[in-house]
Symmetry: C2
DNA sequence: TAATAATATAATAATATTTGCATATATGAA
DNA sequence: TTCATATATGCAAATATTATTATATTATTA
């Protein structure tokens, strides 16, 4: 699955919450039910979406499905989402207000 | 803007392409028109979305609007999206196939 | 083997996102 | 001024995502 599909599937509050929980270790669906305030079928749908994107997988233990993180991009992604960025990026040198630098492209009329 | 909204706005092929282009430096809308194969109003719409999410900003130079990256999360995000992860995360210890470890939650009946 | 627990699937309704198109605004040039 | 260029905005149509509800599947227990 390509990176845009991955971002799309991660960009949902419930799915982020699931991925964060799975970062702590294996969880079965009923573990997730305990702290997510949505219906069980909805949890299953989100798990299916995450699995189809290759982000998680599961093994079967009796009637439990034990889900775990699979895609190594996820821990990195979750980490930068938590990271605290206090400063904006430095503005460009060519700002017409400061009169510094030149705009790096061809001008039209 | 919260991190989920940020992910949502980044998770679109055109907007990723714009952000990557802006990583190289300031670009005005007509620069973007040259390599994006979509209409000008549509580009403007995506730029507006990115700006409302606090990811980019612009300065005005005559009738050009020169856009640049503003949110420091973006370079980090683009970098991990490009990063090559060849291996999946190691599977859990409690896999019933390997018979190692135990499932770390309460069992139900 | 019948009942129950754990989980998934299907269908639909509600909602949000995306694009396309027409038009508006603002600046600089003639 | 008037015109052209650069860019934005508004709105409707098309499309995609999400949640809900009902039902199905599978494995365990009684």
């Amino acid at each position: 699955m390509n990176r845009i599909e991955v971002l799309k599937v991660v960009a949902h509050p419930v799915r982020i919450a699931i991925l964060e929980k799975l970062s702590d270790g294996v969880k079965c669906v009923s573990d997730l039910e305990e702290f997510l305030e949505i219906t069980q079928p909805n949890i299953s749908q989100h798990l299916t979406a995450l699995r189809h994107a290759g982000l998680i997988d599961f093994f079967i233990d009796g009637r439990l499905r034990c889900y775990f993180l699979k895609n190594p991009l996820i821990p990195d992604l979750l980490q930068i989402l938590k990271k605290d960025y206090s400063e904006d990026l430095p503005g460009p040198e060519c700002c017409p207000v400061t009169k510094k630098g030149t705009y790096p492209g061809e001008r039209r009329r």
